[in-house]
Symmetry: D2
Subunit: 342 residues, 4 copies
Amino acid sequence: MKKVNVGIIGAGRIGQLHADNMLRSNVINLKAIADIHIDHLKGTHFEQQISLISTDPKEILEDPSIDAVFICSSTDTHVHFIKAAAKAGKHIFCEKPISFNIEETREALKAVQEAGVKLQVGFNRRFDQHFRKVYETVREGTVGNPHIIKITSRDPQPPHEEYIKRSGGMFMDMTIHDFDMIRYLSGKEVVEVSVKAANLVDPIFEKYNDVDTAITTLTFEDGSLGVIDNSRQAMYGYDQRIEVFGDLGVAFAENERYTNVQIATKDSILLDHPKFFFLDRYKAAFMSEIQEFANAIIENKAVSCSGEDGYKAELIALAAKVSVKEKRSVSLSELEKEDVRV
Amino acid sequence: MKKVNVGIIGAGRIGQLHADNMLRSNVINLKAIADIHIDHLKGTHFEQQISLISTDPKEILEDPSIDAVFICSSTDTHVHFIKAAAKAGKHIFCEKPISFNIEETREALKAVQEAGVKLQVGFNRRFDQHFRKVYETVREGTVGNPHIIKITSRDPQPPHEEYIKRSGGMFMDMTIHDFDMIRYLSGKEVVEVSVKAANLVDPIFEKYNDVDTAITTLTFEDGSLGVIDNSRQAMYGYDQRIEVFGDLGVAFAENERYTNVQIATKDSILLDHPKFFFLDRYKAAFMSEIQEFANAIIENKAVSCSGEDGYKAELIALAAKVSVKEKRSVSLSELEKEDVRV
Amino acid sequence: MKKVNVGIIGAGRIGQLHADNMLRSNVINLKAIADIHIDHLKGTHFEQQISLISTDPKEILEDPSIDAVFICSSTDTHVHFIKAAAKAGKHIFCEKPISFNIEETREALKAVQEAGVKLQVGFNRRFDQHFRKVYETVREGTVGNPHIIKITSRDPQPPHEEYIKRSGGMFMDMTIHDFDMIRYLSGKEVVEVSVKAANLVDPIFEKYNDVDTAITTLTFEDGSLGVIDNSRQAMYGYDQRIEVFGDLGVAFAENERYTNVQIATKDSILLDHPKFFFLDRYKAAFMSEIQEFANAIIENKAVSCSGEDGYKAELIALAAKVSVKEKRSVSLSELEKEDVRV
Amino acid sequence: MKKVNVGIIGAGRIGQLHADNMLRSNVINLKAIADIHIDHLKGTHFEQQISLISTDPKEILEDPSIDAVFICSSTDTHVHFIKAAAKAGKHIFCEKPISFNIEETREALKAVQEAGVKLQVGFNRRFDQHFRKVYETVREGTVGNPHIIKITSRDPQPPHEEYIKRSGGMFMDMTIHDFDMIRYLSGKEVVEVSVKAANLVDPIFEKYNDVDTAITTLTFEDGSLGVIDNSRQAMYGYDQRIEVFGDLGVAFAENERYTNVQIATKDSILLDHPKFFFLDRYKAAFMSEIQEFANAIIENKAVSCSGEDGYKAELIALAAKVSVKEKRSVSLSELEKEDVRV
């Protein structure tokens, strides 16, 4: 079987995660990884198993044997590398969000389209087995036409200040996954966003003009509704639940626990905790997303999460930010007419 | 032990339910029931077991041996009977809502206050064992300060047209229970209401200027948030779940199923359905609410759900209706300045 | 609707439980209660609501208006009262076990048969909603032919020494319920019993030549199997689970918890405890069993748990005792040939 | 980090499974695989990634660079290869059972002991996350001293006739895993075995003097009890549950389902099925067992499942077979005195 030759730009946490998965993949050949900082890779298994470790991304972009580029660098460099990779005729996997600027995202997508390469955006949750099962249940019509889609998405603990500062804010950094998921599950476009947000977890968010708790209500094109509740801190673990309620029924995905063990004593009846860390919770999903991307290239079919999907999720995140700022419901159509830095 | 002597005004479904519970109560003596229509009681066990069945409520109000009156008649008569009962010095249990008119509700409460009698409003869910356990967990501080309170409240099937016509609309008829529950659980006052609603279940609701599906976001006085999702039709049964998420943890109450049986075959792994009918689901709660009311009288202590609570829930329901109509967030403080027929 | 007039012989815990349920029943008239000791009933609601409270059971047996007698006295008096009630032409409800002596039980059943009255034995668990659902699932053929039936039956705490002394031993007192349940669920007769038992909970059981922990394996007439595990002490609550595994699938009944609440914090994910006390756990079942008994009389149909069922369960309990004593598998056919005091 | 150099003898299903896991392991170098039949490996990724694929196991045994040998060939060759590998000074991982003959197993263990090499037996379930959690809970004392250990272990479907013929019978092939698990969980030795078995699933088992359904009761050295129920066919999937009940509480491990999704409609409330195939169910456990084995070599510490463990499980399986044949309880001490071909 043919394997896809891949180079990774960005050797941080997520870049290394993808690299490890690629080394275990039967459809991907990890040939190169590039980052400004590569010292931390020295003496690791990456050095032994990857032919090229470089400080210059060009070495990847100019290598004719490389089929696809994974962009895992900081968000502010995504658009630049997407354009460069598209120009070099490479297929592209880009971490979310594509950018913090809708207009720049649009330009990046345009470059991809012109180059005729594939672009997959890193919304890993689409590849989670539980959520995929709900998605398929909805597609099969089992729950009928969705009336209300609910997502509970709460991080186990707030990120560090450095991260918060450059995160683009909760909606662009965290809820963007939920915006993508709600579009994915519904199969409908969001037309309006209304947010009630608060700063309840840590004042550090306020310092950066950010929030840490929110209820976001979404109106779909057919009048049906979605609602997302977010918190930056759930003490009991990473809380990731979805529910699609339609005119024929409902499908839920519950949290994934470490084990299915129950312990009962005089004092307590205990279940195991939900997985705490997103890399544990979505471990299989991170593997599946690169496998599906590689297969889309090998079989020349559509990717499971397109640049268009990335753009739409950003647009909803932008609307959410405007909704918080201006304390009103925001139509997506308003935003597409203007160019706003998110 | 002393028993409370009770008369019921209104012999419809809910009046009969209370009557049956009173006949099994060890703290209540059901002495009389009055309604314009009493023919349907003939030949029933009520005729055998209740001394007085009358078409004239005055017979109850003027009977000096009666300690308390249950007002189970149609909503448009509640205020009249509250005033009359208060004047007669009877303690009062009134079904929800007190009225469809905030000003009239205030007047009724004033009459009660002046008479120095007790008034309990029929928010039966406060007495449900599952919800009470969540309430107690919150009070004990186990989940910390509530940040997000979520209620899923979906009826199994829409009411009849005749009912819809006089229901006061979904918010005043159905969501009002959730408005009370969210106040009860949080121990905080709601200051703002924002609704996205739709007509997705049946066009009959639209005919009466009503909705059948809604996401209601509530802002509490301390900036924390609540969200309620409603539908008039959940095909799988009566869906009644609550969740209080705080800075230390979360408490959920799941639906109550008919049985704890699981059946696994080649084709399916089946659980039993959630209870379908509200009288089944809240069977124990309906009993508890009248027991607690009687005990409040016997021990001369505060009722578990006061007239003030009834008024506040109506005010939120009114705000929800305005929010839908004017497509905006509505402050409760706006409404307290004016007198609007809901 | 006709009501069944009932007299209760025995005013201990279980007699009073039945009395309370009868006072709330729409098909039973509780007319009398008799016991050697009746002082504890003075000043209670029983005195107000029951016409006759007597120290002489004859007053019940000789009252022509009484249709049925509930025998709730100590086990050693059951056979005597069954014979007397049968002779008096009364229908009989008798608590389990009928007696500790198989031959005497047979004689009692003979008297009942000759008198042509109905006899129901108090195996309350047959009337539990969860177990009834499993029973119906098996009857409908959903799980196919039962291959393995499993019962977990563990008491929350050991009884007092006085009780142990006269209990007839764990198999005759506690496991007898499981023996009946396994016959009920399977619809097959047990032919062989093999027990491994131990004294692990409290040495007090050993003092009375009794055990407190056991695994009992049962062989049914068609070669299929049953297994019951018992303990006299489950610290987490009354553990009552059943499972029927057949060639098409499996049906389980899980424990009934106080509430469906889950509480999640940093330290623990907690469920509520299983109900601790058998009167709570089987509250509804105790009501159902007397209702079904009364309906069997009113509609002149077979009772749901016959004298034959009581006899068979005793026979299995006896076989279990022999199995422990003689450390071998015991055929029920062996025992029917002899007369053994259990 | 040092890696363990490994050669595999036996390239069937389980040999290939281990090979694939080794190729993804960071502590194992898979250097060679040998089998009489190697044609099926041609053109596979094994050919590309394993240096030596041979029909001669000697090539592995005589290769001085190889640290450890995995014996994945048919059971009748295990003892031969264990002795040869021990003589060659290789550490050994051997699939279960070591042999069908207790005496030969003892000889193999003697050879291992004399050679001073490590031997791990392939009881993969010890490495399952859920069962490991129960094990740890028991070790921490949370449930107190185990009184009753229960294992439900039902295969999703019977094996093929060819497999049955050479399986050693249900107890030696299938229940042997449960015998090991019950020793592992209890930390106690089994002293007596009592089985009730039946042929209910398929007459094919009877043809080979085998059974397909069984309840096995085990008595531990301290008088506490264990019980295992087995079936060769559970239509709803692979049923693998364990429960340790002690004087302080109970710990359960429930089945692992494909997903945590629940689907509720008018007709049914559905959960996902338990995983059907043992390679899916124990996927992570198969990886963990080879990792722990390699780490035991690297860090020169005891293996997690020793030859002694393999021997003890075989002895219990043998006792179970005798129990079925002779219809009686069998003491393990009886068997250690004689040499019986199982």
